[in-house]
């Protein structure tokens, strides 16, 4: 296993009969992922993209030994979908669904945790490890197998940056898109140890956004526990305070969670800071060249 997924990952797609569920089941399969089951209550017996559909997660797991969930179920029903997957013993759930109320997510997160399951998301692109498996919606075209690990709070900006790494002739070990909601199942601090421990990862790229204190927490963790080089970028340096720029996370209030406080903390923790997305591949390349000389 590199980071959370590997060749033994068997994906079950919850909400597979919806438009996004179907489209991304196909994309996950094209990536080389074993997508073994779909779940939509009332649609048992159907197949989507060659994947059998079940009425319940329990039935899907019994028949297919699925061990990772990818959830596309609409927000009002997403909590139930997650609880069902956790109760069936699935240890990893990527929640792509956006607009899940954070009060629901609080229950989902703490329930999953109490059962030893991990959530990535919600409102996130998910996880992909080139050559192994993808659970989520990151476009296949941006990947190339390599040794750079990417952890990001953004969606499309992640694709942009992962693609930039590929175009620089480097590749990725794995990429996790955490999502930018107020409550996330996996934070930077939760994801960093996975990449620190991963023998396939040489450099970690951390992509943050203004708002909240997740990046400051990450800096504290990096300072004490991460020995691999880290390149960091924070989006929204010039965003106006108090205006929400899309994500619930992307709002600055009361001088906390500004790009300055985050960049300063990350820089003090030893991370190399990129001012713009297109500086990231160069910084990574420099680090790798330096590692090669050692």
């Amino acid at each position: 296993m590199t980071v959370l997924v590997d060749g033994s990952t068997r994906v079950m797609v919850q909400g597979i009969t919806g438009h996004q569920g179907t489209v991304h089941t196909r994309q996950m399969k094209l990536f080389g992922t074993e997508v073994v089951a779909g779940v939509t209550p009332g649609k048992a017996g159907a197949t989507v993209e060659g994947v059998p559909v079940f009425d319940s997660v329990r039935a899907a797991v019994e028949k297919t030994n699925a061990n990772a969930a990818c959830i596309f179920v609409p927000a009002p029903y997403a909590k139930d979908a997650l609880l069902e997957s956790v109760d069936a013993g699935i240890p990893l759930a990527v929640i792509v669904t956006e607009h899940i109320p954070f009060h629901d997510m609080l229950v989902m997160y703490h329930y999953a945790r109490s059962k030893g399951a991990r959530i990535i998301g919600p409102n996130c692109p998910g996880i992909a490890a080139p050559g192994l498996a993808k659970v989520g919606i990151i476009p296949n075209v941006v990947f190339q197998k390599g040794r750079v690990g990417v952890i990001s709070r953004s969606g499309t900006l992640t694709y942009e940056i992962v693609n930039g790494i590929k175009e620089r002739g480097l590749g990725q070990s794995a990429c996790i898109g955490l999502g930018g909601d107020p409550v996330v199942g996996t934070s930077f601090v939760d994801a960093l140890p996975l990449f620190q421990a991963d023998p396939e990862t040489d450099v970690i790229v951390l992509v943050g956004e203004i708002g909240g204190t997740a990046e400051e927490d990450a800096a504290e963790y990096i300072r004490h526990h991460v020995t691999k080089p880290v390149v960091a970028y924070i989006a929204g340096r010039s965003a106006p305070p108090g205006k929400r720029m899309g994500h619930a996370g992307a709002i600055i209030s009361r001088g906390k969670g500004t790009a300055e406080t985050k960049l300063a903390a990350l820089s003090q923790a030893g991370a190399k800071v990129a001012r713009f997305p297109y500086e990231i591949p160069d910084l990574v390349a420099e680090i790798i060249a330096h590692q090669g000389r050692r």
């Binding site: 109320p101 009060h103 692109p125 970028y233 997305p277």
Partner: protein, 377 residues
């Protein structure tokens, strides 16, 4: 995020049993006078502008009245005021109470802990941001057991209340916690929470409810936030749209990419003013609507920066081409496009056939749009 006006917040408090002063809403000086004359609002009373901004007391938006005539005069002087950009159209009149002490109490979310948190301070009546950290108690509440008795005792101790006031606090904490969860609130705040005689009364109410829980709370759907008219139209069409001062329009997909685009434009001297986040869509009609909305904002130039994931590049290109045909000549703008990702080749080809070139790098495309908007701001 929907911030409720004080009177709406107090309606929420009432529903859950948080004790309040007796009061009523007035929308005219006549109404203020008759509410006090009839005794619906006991005298002496306080007359408060119903605006979302803080600092009303110092800003002349709160007045006191001893008689119905004074209530009328106070209402007349506050109604129509422009308070920090908000026009005052509503007043809350409430009985003036003999306050022994002012406390602070709220429930909100601690994102790092991923837990709700109770925040309490014996120093109420001032902005909590200005209170010394040592004087603030923070009690994380786990969602499963909910608010426990020992946690309530801890809050009571820090607020320095005992006896019947502590009993009142116990009930009030339960009510406020239920309001926080039941209304899907991001914040329920009482500041000041007044000690009056042997009990407690919420003198102010700040309630912020979460947009994402709208499917459970249709009652909050019509409440306007601090949106401009175009932002309001965008909301109805489910397009994230933010308007600021500036002359470059940005159409991107995803909050992170939108903000990164803003950073790069600023670096090259641009002054972006309108942001439109397509989010994840593969409906060309939505893209067309977004462009027409952008045209209404009359930017000097527009930067289309799309990285296709859920959104396919050819969808965006088709939506854009359709929109360009509909935009009236007086609202046309120079466009710089950069589309990458899923179906990139098809998208670029559609644009090229319609005379639009996609510039592949963020740096060069940003420089091009700054130049198209007339150079550095």
């Amino acid at each position: 995020m929907v911030k409720l006006a004080e009177w709406r917040g107090k309606e929420v408090f009432q529903k859950y049993g948080v004790p309040l002063p007796r009061g009523a809403v007035a929308r005219s000086a006549d109404e203020a006078e008759s509410l006090t004359r009839s005794g619906a609002v006991p005298l002496p009373c306080v007359v408060k502008a119903q605006v979302l901004a803080g600092g009303r007391g110092k800003g002349g938006a709160v007045k006191f009245a001893n008689t119905p005539d004074e209530a009328r005069a106070a209402a007349a002087s506050i109604l129509g005021l422009e308070f920090k950009g908000e026009k005052v159209t509503e007043l809350l009149l409430e009985e003036k109470l003999p306050i022994a002490r002012e406390l602070y109490l709220s429930f909100t979310l601690d994102r790092s802990l991923r837990l709700p948190i109770a925040i309490a301070s014996a120093q109420g009546g001032v902005e909590i941001e200005s209170v010394d950290d040592a004087a603030i108690e923070r009690v994380p509440i786990h969602p499963f057991p909910g608010l426990a008795a020992y946690e309530k005792r801890r809050i009571a101790e820090r607020l320095g209340v005992s006896g019947s006031v502590a009993k009142s606090l116990d009930r009030l904490l339960d009510a406020l916690w239920r309001a926080f969860q039941g209304e899907d609130a991001e914040l329920v705040e009482i500041n000041p929470l007044a000690v009056v005689g042997e009990g407690l009364v919420a003198l102010d109410a700040k309630v912020i409810v979460e947009d994402d829980a709208g499917f459970r709370h249709p009652e909050y759907g019509d409440i306007r936030d601090d949106r401009t008219p175009l932002e309001e139209i965008a909301r109805e069409k489910e397009i994230a749209f933010v308007q600021l001062d500036g002359n470059i329009g940005v159409i991107a997909n995803g909050a992170g990419l939108t903000m990164a685009t803003l950073d790069v434009l600023k670096e090259f001297g641009g002054n972006p003013g309108v942001f439109l986040d397509l989010g994840g869509t593969d409906d060309p009609k939505k893209v067309t609507e977004a462009f027409l909305l952008m045209a209404q904002a009359k930017p000097k130039a527009v930067f289309l920066n799309i990285f296709g994931g859920v959104t396919r590049c050819d969808t965006v290109a088709n939506g854009l081409v359709a929109a360009m045909k509909e935009v009236p000549p007086e609202n046309r703008f120079p466009l710089v496009a950069r589309i990458r990702g899923n179906n990139e080749k098809e998208g670029i080809e559609i644009l090229r056939a319609n005379g639009i070139t996609s510039i592949p790098t963020l740096k060069e495309s940003a420089q091009a749009v700054v130049a198209a908007a007339g150079g550095k701001a």
